[in-house]
């Protein structure tokens, strides 16, 4: 039926040649061919009326037999070809094919408009062939979509990217790329990479790497480019490149990425500077420390936990005249006096074995062969867990001190012998101390006297004054001499019965000025029933005076507590009385030493006072001693025989 319809459609073309049967055969063939083709074919006349369409025309674009003879613009199918009439007119006029896109439902076609040429070559219509391109069109859409997605991704990437052609000209870049260099797509299209950023990328290594990559090398060595001018100022970038190749395309392209590492570089610089500063500080500190160790007035050494020496400061090397190598070869014991080797090594071994501080003395050989005494100190340095990491040691030259100590020891022996026998030299020194001042005054006054007498007229008032002073000072000097002589020449004492409580009271009165001046308070505990002693008033006064004054002066340096002097008198035994004088001063290191002649702790002292006191008490058959707790004041005590021996108080018989 359809066939009939179509045949009807061809009536206008019948009679192309005279042989009807043959013609009919040919027509039937053509119709069969056309209907077998899956391409809709439509023939329009000059007046745009449809003269023919094949089966595909009915099947695919929905033409119906009633459309034959109708003008194309009246057929809704052709609404999708708005310029059809115009195109057809042009084809008929020009005899040249034309094309148009045509959509029918979901299908897309490309319409070829070709001239309909009669046998006489007259063109009196057009042939429209519809090629179905729906499948192709879909794949193109997908490609466009994919491309847009890729573009969007690339544009959101923060790192600039650019695609170069094989001759390294810029093809396209992402947003970040254009933003960074402050350029537009049009500015840079086709511009060689090396012209970008004032030629900053014109670098031999970069050129070489890109060349290698384009030559087929798989890996590209990223290149760091410094001081690249960008909209963000001078930046440091790392360029990386990847070859781009497309299947079926011979052209190679290059994707170049730029990584901005300026911040990293700055951080690195800061870190490096910080590091350098730290290193410098450590170096300075180390130098300082080594300077300290090298200049410290001692010989410094260092040893491993097992005792092996591993450091000696310059002073040790200078002193011994040995090099570290010599030390290592000979061993340190070689420099120690043969007599001291055993005890020193023993002490050292014990210290290392027990990790205890090392402190010993030994003689160390100097470069000139002379041995000097050293104090050797060693201290272990420990880690957190208390394990010994190192031994640090110090050698202090104590030769002079040791020699002095030895000299002192022998002079002490001599002195203690001397104090017992009261040598002439001591007496002389004491006399000099006591009487030089008045004697000088006497001499000067005497001269003055003579001068005033010989003056014209004589200054008699002055003479009298001077003479009075001579008498006064001379007497004083004489008294001192007398007392000293009495003391040391064992002259008989001027013994009377004497109340020591009274003597103490007298001396306290004498010292009242001194007590006030030095803010010393005095407390007494005097035994009313002390009873008299047989003694020389002047001498015993001297003793009490000396001891009290000593006590007062001993508290000069006391600032943190009240200065208190405590005096007690009591019966010590039936035969003796006891006097105690206690100060709150700093105390004495060696209470016995203070009684030795010439021992003094005072700046201007001669060290005779207490020696004299002891001599006086000794002469009275008494005893004088001192007791001192370090830092807790000193108590001077003396006993004297009582003038009246009391009957011993016997315990009550039970």
């Amino acid at each position: 039926m359809q066939r009939g319809t179509i045949n009807g459609g061809w009536t206008g073309s019948q009679g192309v040649d005279g042989d009807v049967t043959a013609a009919n055969m040919a027509t039937a063939d053509l119709i069969n061919i056309l209907d077998a083709v899956e391409v809709p074919v439509v023939i329009l006349r000059r007046d745009f009326t449809i003269s023919y369409f094949n089966k595909a025309g009915a099947d695919m674009i929905g033409l119906s037999p009633s459309d034959i003879g109708r003008v194309s613009r009246d057929i809704s199918v052709f609404d999708a070809l708005p310029h059809l009439e115009q195109q057809c007119s042009e084809v008929i006029a020009g005899g040249v094919e034309s094309r148009a896109n045509f959509r029918h439902g979901e299908k897309w076609f490309v319409v070829r408009i070709s001239p309909y040429t009669k046998v006489d070559r007259q063109v009196n219509g057009t042939v429209l062939t519809f090629t179905n391109v729906t499948a192709f069109r879909a794949s193109t859409d997908q490609a466009i979509y994919e491309r847009e997605c890729t573009k969007a991704i690339l544009n959101t990437v923060a790192d600039p990217l650019v695609v170069l052609s094989a001759d390294l000209r810029i093809q396209t870049g992402n947003c970040a790329f254009y933003t960074m260099f402050g350029v537009s797509r049009d500015d840079t299209q086709g511009v060689p990479l090396y012209e970008l950023g004032h030629g900053v990328f014109e670098l031999a290594p970069l050129r070489e790497h890109l060349k290698e990559m384009l030559g087929g090398s798989p890996a590209f060595q990223p290149v760091e480019v410094d001081r690249v001018s960008t909209v963000k100022g001078q930046r440091t970038l790392i360029l990386d490149a990847h070859p781009l190749s497309f299947p079926g395309h011979s052209e190679r392209r290059v994707l170049v990425t730029f990584q901005d590492i300026t911040a990293i570089k700055q951080a690195e610089t800061v870190l490096r500077e910080l590091n350098e500063t730290l290193e410098r500080q450590v170096r300075v500190r180390t130098e300082e420390l080594s300077l300290i160790i090298e200049t410290i007035p001692g010989l410094v050494w260092c040893a491993a936990p097992d005792g092996e020496l591993n450091y000696l400061n310059r002073r040790i090397l200078d002193y011994t005249g040995a090099s570290p190598d010599t030390f290592a070869q000979l061993g340190w014991t070689n420099f120690i006096h043969p007599d001291d080797v055993e005890p020193t090594v023993g002490a050292w071994s014990r210290a290392v074995a027990s990790d205890q501080p090392y402190d010993t003395q030994c003689r160390l050989r100097r470069s000139d062969g002379i041995y000097r005494w050293f104090q050797v100190l060693g201290q272990a340095a420990r880690d957190n867990k208390g394990g010994v990491t190192r031994w640090y040691g110090l050698l202090i030259d104590i030769d002079d001190r040791r020699n002095m100590e030895e000299a002192l020891r022998s002079s002490e022996t001599r002195l203690s012998r001397a104090t017992r026998t009261a040598t002439l030299g001591e007496i002389a020194a004491s006399i000099a101390h006591e009487i030089n001042q008045p004697l000088a005054a006497v001499v000067a006054n005497g001269h003055a006297c003579l001068r005033w007498l010989s003056a014209q007229p004589p200054g008699l008032a002055k003479v009298q004054e001077a003479a009075t002073r001579i008498v006064r000072d001379g007497t004083e000097a004489g008294e001192v001499i007398r007392r000293i002589r009495a003391l040391f020449k064992h002259a008989p004492l001027d013994k009377i019965d004497l109340d020591l409580n009274e003597v103490i009271a007298e001396v306290l009165r004498l010292l009242s000025g001194e007590r006030t001046k030095r803010r010393v308070s005095v407390e007494t505990d005097l035994d009313k029933d002390l009873g008299p002693v047989a003694g020389d008033r002047v001498q015993l006064q001297q003793v009490v005076f000396n001891l009290l004054l000593n006590g007062i002066e001993a508290m000069d340096s006391v600032l943190d507590r009240p200065k208190k002097l405590f005096i007690r008198s009591k019966r010590h035994s039936p035969e003796t009385v006891l006097i105690e004088i206690q100060d709150s001063g700093v105390g004495l290191k060696d209470p016995e030493k203070v009684f030795e002649a010439f021992f003094t702790t005072k700046e201007n002292g001669m060290g005779m006072g207490l020696a004299v006191c002891r001599a006086i008490i000794d002469a009275h058959h008494g005893r004088l001693w001192a007791a001192s707790g370090e830092g807790a004041g000193t108590t001077f005590s003396f006993t004297l025989p009582a003038a009246v021996v009391r009957a011993a108080t016997l315990p009550a018989a039970s």
Partner: protein, 209 residues
Amino acid sequence: MNSDSPIVFVVDDDHRVREALSSLISSAGLRVAVFNSAAEFLESEKPDAPACLVLDLQLPGTSGLELQQQLVTGDAPPIIFITGHGDIPSSVRAMKAGAIEFLSKPFGEQELLQAIAGAIALDRTARQKRSQLAELRTHYDLLTPREREVLPFVVAGFANKVTAADLGTSEITIGVHRGQIMRKMGARSLAELVRMADTLGITRIARPA
């Protein structure tokens, strides 16, 4: 005794020694001022007169040697040390530090008075020198910088012509400078100017440069 007659300062902590020395020294016709301590001496007003200091070595507080060190200025009077028990090291130190004499108590009148006389004479000379120098300085300060440049040539005995050539000026100008120098310095002769220059420590030009 007028205000610029010599004065002897005595510093000793022993009143007996102070009294005796005061009497002895005034018997020699000298003014005396006595002090109990170094601090008392330092605080006192001193008359503008030739002086000397008789100083005890052992003083409470600031010792004699310490006071001597504090007085190491050009204007301090010469020092005579006295001591009750002098030791050799202190005396050496005292003498090295410029003491005139070091006397051990008791000492004779002649020893002390001679030392005092010597010290006062020394101080008088020193004071004169100081005042002369001060006066010369005042004169010298009047010279212009150019005149101070010319002075070393003049005192070295160079002719104006040579000086002029050396300083790049005319003989006449040098002549004028020379006249001004003589007038301002108050020198009556070249010889006097030379002495003044020596006193001021001005180096003569050795030879024209």
